[in-house]
């Protein structure tokens, strides 16, 4: 049962192959057996999940079932869930129960999905290895000595370990695509504004975007059908029609033009990695796609710009964690300043503190123009690079990461080395574009991802291209040896 995709589960539940209760019980047992090593869940909501499954089975018995009725998923612990802990991977929120559901969560609840619990992540979504979580690192199911990527490491690892068929995730600089690539699963980061951010704890508001981690592109399309859409509670969500993302999955890609940015295939990408990506492109050519070399000349500015904008926004977004109204509070504060200093000093981990400090510095009087304003200008240049490229091509493709999954501890002592993990993913967030990571090969028995980048709101085409690739290849079906 646990090897089934969301699409298969939906069909099996409809045909009565098994009930949602049976499936949910099976998956919860798997979590109990396997997640001790992997640590992909922060909170498992057994009782709630079984109650949801029972209700789903009853609805089905009454003849009121839809595609999502009784389908299990899990949420990244950045999405607020009414009455269930939402920690954001931090000690600061280790006791926080939101009195509301994130829009994404309530949409899945309304669709009848079953939530198994809340998934591990880098603290406040800051990290590329899931090592900054207060709840411990997540192991990569392909090699438990290695990281699953981050920040949605729990989501990617749980799907890779077949603990859950699909998971919500978020992506601010690569946090869906990079862990999906490192864990050999399919990740989709939609266009900024496509999915509501209400109830999704903000890291960098202008970059954060909810998305999906699944085994297949088809499943991503099914999740998108639930998640996408305008939300009056999020002023930055876009009021634009939501297509049925499954309807274009099987479109022919004959004649599709793929752009290969020359900046993405330089020396910093190893020959092995290059080969896997090139093989995938060749697969597309076989299917009738045309390939064109393009240039995204400002690519090298993406990481510096990101590490001004994201920390600046987070320095303000995380100010509300002050120990006054919710969350961690230090023992016996002397006065209000002591309360702030120690609650935040003790509640936040090092990476979070580092970014708050970088952001506070970048925004401080006399530095704003040199850093924040300049970074926003760079952001426009990067966006223009893509806009120009999409005049000539339909989809841009390239690697997701410079290397496959690295060992735990390998990059923790050098933050800049860690930041470079996102060198191919970060520019999309600055531009607001949608992107996917699709398993496309292996290096040293570790999965490698192919990145697909689409034009604004062109998720349908990305899903179509990914689906066609998955029809032609079986990289997405490969399972870690221990699983």
């Amino acid at each position: 049962m646990h090897n089934k995709t969301i699409a298969e589960i939906s069909r099996d539940l409809a045909s009565g192959e098994y009930s949602s209760t049976e499936l949910t019980t099976d998956l919860l047992n798997r979590v109990k057996q396997l997640d001790g090593d992997i640590n992909s869940f922060i909170t498992v909501t057994d009782e709630q999940a079984l109650a949801q499954a029972k209700a789903a089975d009853e609805r089905r018995a009454a003849g009121n079932a839809d595609a999502w009725t009784g389908v299990p998923i899990a949420h990244k612990d950045i999405f607020c869930t009414n009455g269930v802990l939402t920690t954001c991977g931090s000690k600061m929120l280790s006791n926080f129960e939101a009195p509301y559901d994130a829009t994404v969560v309530s949409k899945f609840n309304d669709a009848g999905a079953v939530s198994l619990g809340k998934l591990n992540m880098d603290e406040f979504a800051m990290g590329s290895s899931n090592e900054s979580s207060f709840f411990g690192p997540v192991a990569n199911p392909w090699d438990k000595e290695r990281v699953p990527g981050g920040s949605s490491g729990g989501s990617a690892a749980a799907v890779a370990a077949r603990l859950v068929p699909g998971a919500t995730a978020t992506d601010t600089g690569g946090s869906i695509r990079q862990p999906a690539a490192l864990c050999g699963v399919t990740g989709l980061k939609p266009t900024y504004g496509r999915i509501s951010r209400w109830g999704m704890i903000a890291y960098a508001s202008s970059l954060d975007q909810a998305g999906t981690i699944t085994r297949t592109a088809e499943d991503a399309a099914l999740m998108m059908n639930v998640m996408a859409g305008f939300d009056p509670k999020d002023s930055t969500s876009v009021d634009r029609e939501v297509p049925d993302y499954t309807s274009s999955l099987d479109n022919s890609i004959e004649g599709m033009t793929i752009g290969l940015p020359k900046e993405y295939f330089r020396d910093d990408l190893s020959a092995d990695m290059q080969q896997q990506v090139r093989n995938a492109i060749a697969e597309y050519e076989k299917m009738g796609a045309k390939v064109k070399e393009i240039s995204l000349p400002n690519t090298h500015l993406a990481i510096p710009a990101y590490y001004v904008i994201a920390p600046s926004e987070c320095s303000a977004n995380l100010s509300r964690m002050d120990g006054v109204r919710f969350g961690y509070r230090c023992e016996d504060p002397k006065d209000v300043e002591d309360l702030y200093c120690r609650s935040r000093g003790e509640g936040f981990g090092n990476e979070v503190k580092r970014r708050i400090m970088i952001g506070s510095y970048a925004l401080s009087a006399g530095f704003y123009d040199a850093y924040y304003k300049k970074a926003q200008q760079v952001r426009r240049l990067i966006r223009n690079d893509f806009t120009n490229a999409f005049n000539d091509v339909d989809v841009i493709m390239g690697p997701v990461t410079p290397t496959p999954a690295f060992k735990r501890g390998e990059k923790t002592s050098d933050p800049v080395e860690m930041y470079l993990e996102d060198i191919f993913t970060i520019a999309l967030n600055l531009a607001g574009l949608p992107g996917m990571s699709v398993p496309c090969g292996q290096v040293n028995n570790l999965p490698v991802g192919l990145q697909l980048i689409g034009n604004f709101f062109d998720e349908g085409r990305l899903l179509n291209a990914a689906h066609k690739f998955q029809q032609a290849t079986d990289w997405h079906l490969k399972t870690p040896a221990d699983i």
């Binding site: 999405f79 607020c80 939402t86 954001c88 929120l93 926080f96 939101a98 009195p99 509301y100 994130a102 951010r197 209400w198 109830g199 999704m200 704890i201 903000a202 960098a204 508001s205 202008s206 009056p232 509670k233 999020d234 002023s235 930055t236 600046s312 926004e313 320095s315 303000a316 995380l318 100010s319 509300r320 964690m321 002050d322 006054v324 109204r325 919710f326 969350g327 209000v336 702030y340 506070s360 925004l363 401080s364 009087a365 704003y368 924040y372």
Partner: protein
């Protein structure tokens, strides 16, 4: 040395929206602590602001009323600082792109002249909550009911030269915002608060002296007193050859002096940057025109009209036009009586006296403008004399009835104006007092006017409610007939 005083004011006015500027919580005053603060006002993780369109409309209305440029694109910024009653750790305000640009108003000076004061800008922002320092056993309580209440901060140019001018400016702003119905103007509840920037410079010097800012002054009288106290303080220092420190001060009304706030409370680098959760607010000229069409007649226009249409003196017109409710009351009563001068005298006399005595506003007065109009009508057609009118007026104020004509009857105040009746009474008075008549006739003709006094008294004594004017005429005639 002769000094010139330079004063600029920053006025915070709470906008009279039903809900808060970025949330749906109520703005009503006086509820139990924290019962009108929703998740957004509490700054819980994951929540997002949505801009209240009513606040925008009111701000535009204000801009139009002071003849200002309206910002067709305004942008919300985050002003970062930690304070327990600022739940997010930043205030959402408008720094570089305010909704209202340069405008101006006119204030009336004591010498009857008017002076134009330019308004630099007015911007929208959210109010903070309140810290409560008593009753929590060494701790502080936080009440976030007020957090998120929309404010418009109105910044003047430093163009006032006396405390009196500053008070007049504050009063005029109060009059404008209450006229527009965008602020309830209740100073005691903090609906309008004023920061006063004060500096001195040697007369003739162009360069400004160092200024201090007196925070949160909340009455017209205290604006004048606080500024005068600060002027005195600064002058003492300067006369002694000292230097003014640029600082924030508080006014102590009991001691009538200003004192410096702790420097810790004021030294802040606010690290402003555009709020990424809110889109720039874009409006077009059509929107502005539609708001303009809803503008009521403003104090200055009303004053001018009262002078030209109703022939009131400048002073009367100024007093009556300053308050919209008073002006409306006056006009309604005057129209009913077809006598604007009579109505102006009554509204400024008996009506204002009653308001002061009862310490209520005109809306709470138990006499309506229509009732006053009826009383004035009865004075004009001689049904009532002045004393009778006052009696009816007071009966209405005291709630002893609500039918003017009914009260005139039941109190027996109807004047006898019928000449025939009065002739009979006068004839009887003359017949009953032959000695007085003799005395009168012996009086030289030029002194007879005064000598008529006793007869008038006797006539009125003989029959209460006789019209004194008619009595005079009849007496004159009858006595002349006698010689």
């Amino acid at each position: 040395m002769e000094w010139e005083v330079v004063i600029g004011l920053e006025i915070h006015a709470q906008l009279a929206t039903k809900s808060k500027i970025f949330s749906g919580a109520s703005t009503a005053y006086g509820a139990d602590a924290n019962t009108q603060a929703c998740a957004v006002d509490l700054g819980l993780p994951g929540v997002l602001p949505v801009f209240n369109e009513d606040a925008l409309r009111m701000a535009v209305k204000f801009g139009l009323a002071i003849d200002a440029e309206i910002g067709l694109k305004s942008v919300f910024d985050r002003k970062n600082y930690f304070y327990p009653d600022s739940p997010k750790g930043y205030q959402t305000t408008q720094l570089h792109h305010p909704i209202v640009g340069m405008g101006h108003i006119e204030i009336e000076l004591d010498n009857g002249e008017t002076k134009r004061i330019n308004v630099t800008r007015a911007h929208l922002e959210e109010d903070a909550g309140k810290s409560v320092h008593e009753g929590f056993d060494g701790m502080s309580g936080i009440d976030l009911n007020r957090a998120g209440t929309p404010l418009i901060e109105i910044v003047s140019e430093p163009e006032m030269r006396t405390a009196k001018e500053a008070a007049a400016y504050f009063k005029k702003m109060h009059s404008i915002v209450t006229y527009l119905g965008i602020c309830d103007g209740d100073l005691s509840q903090g609906s309008m608060r004023c920061d006063c920037n004060v500096s001195l410079r040697p007369k003739g010097q162009e360069e400004f002296g160092t200024r201090t800012e007196i925070k949160n002054v909340n009455s017209f009288r205290n604006v004048e007193r606080a500024i005068n106290a600060e002027i005195e303080r600064q002058m003492d220092i300067l006369e002694d050859g000292g230097k003014i420190l640029q600082e924030t001060r508080l006014y102590d009304a009991d001691k009538n002096e200003t004192r410096a706030m702790r420097s810790k409370e004021v030294e802040n680098d606010y690290r402003y940057f555009p709020c990424p959760d809110l889109l720039p607010v874009i409006i077009d000229q059509d929107y502005v025109d539609a708001v303009a069409a809803t503008l009521p007649e403003l104090p200055n226009a009303k004053r001018t009209r009262f002078e030209s249409e109703h022939g009131l003196s400048a002073t009367d017109a100024g007093v009556l036009a300053a308050n919209r409710e008073l002006a409306d009351f006056f006009e309604t009563a005057a129209k009913a009586a077809s006598d604007y001068k009579l109505a102006a005298n009554w509204v400024q006399g008996d009506v204002s006296a009653a308001l002061n005595r009862l310490e209520i506003s005109i809306g709470e007065l138990s006499i309506t403008a229509e009732q006053l109009g009826r009383i004035l009508q009865l004075i004009k057609d001689s049904t009532l004399n002045n004393g009778g009118a006052k009696e009816v007026f007071n009966a209405l104020i005291d709630g002893k009835g609500d039918d003017v004509d009914g009260l005139v009857d039941s109190l027996g105040l109807k004047q006898v104006s019928d000449t025939g009746t009065i002739e009979e009474i006068v004839a009887k008075v003359l017949a009953d007092n032959p000695k007085l008549v003799e005395g009168y006739l012996a009086t030289p003709v030029e002194k007879r006017g005064k000598a008529m006094g006793p007869f008038i008294g006797l006539t009125r004594k003989a029959a209460a409610g006789v019209n004194p004017q008619v009595v005079m005429e009849v007496l004159k005639k009858k006595l002349e007939e006698l010689g």
